[in-house]
Symmetry: C2
Subunit: 148 residues, 2 copies
């Protein structure tokens, strides 16, 4: 490996957008998953529940766009939530679409998750400090806006 390759290699380790985003996501996800463990809920599942509550009669494709997630990934997520009895999937008027809605149990779990979320979220915000946290969040929003 020559000098310029060595330089590039070091740059990858330090600055790679993909690696740094994934590493941070892994670390934060571990904390959040831990926080929701008592509900038998994973962090990803909570974000799906929130989106479903926010948008009644949500379809799989619409939800995938909002969540910045591949449609087929979301299908598996929703199947899981359905098995847990947290969401209800029904056929739309257009027979191709599936409408996703929270069950009463889903709403209960969502409500129970809020204080646990608040705690996990505060830990991250505290670790960074308000200023850096705001900057980070802006950057993440911008990534979603530009690459969605």
């Amino acid at each position: 490996m020559n000098d310029s390759e060595d330089k590039l290699r070091k740059e990858v380790g330090r600055t790679c957008a993909c690696f740094n985003l994934r590493r941070a996501a892994r670390l934060v996800t571990q904390r959040f998953d831990q926080a929701f463990r008592e509900l038998g809920l994973r962090a990803t599942q909570l974000s799906v529940l929130v989106a479903v509550y926010d948008m009644p009669e949500l379809t799989v494709s619409k939800a995938a766009r909002v969540l910045g997630m591949d449609r087929t990934s979301l299908t598996r997520n929703i199947q899981l939530l359905e098995r847990k009895g947290l969401v209800l999937v029904t056929e739309g008027d257009d027979k191709r679409v599936r409408n996703i809605d929270l069950t009463p149990k889903g709403v209960e779990v969502l409500k129970a998750a809020f204080p646990l979320w608040r705690k996990a979220q505060s830990e991250v915000e505290l670790a960074l400090g308000n200023e850096q946290w705001d900057a980070l969040l802006s950057g993440l929003h911008e990534v979603a806006r530009k690459l969605r």
Copy 2:
């Protein structure tokens, strides 16, 4: 759901550290995976190769710490790279540890990946602009430093 619960729910959607990190990581990973497709390499695999090259005689546990990844997740990653013939896993003097090193083929793939990485990385940096990208990267580093 009462008013304060509604407010919290909306806050989750907008500000959740876990969701926003994961969504950005998903979107960026899709681009990077796409960029490396011609090498049969995924973005995560590249970051492992870089770490392995950087630290000769790296062990699984040490690599996991550096990469901010669960040790057992890394085991699966390394098994994959071993099957592809990109890394070599050997027993250490201490018979418990495994030393991970790149094979010549691994070095070749790593070198071939650099220009592809440069291109994918530039797209993200351009999408955000230098200032916001620097702020985002700092935040991600800080998350790793504080939560590792």
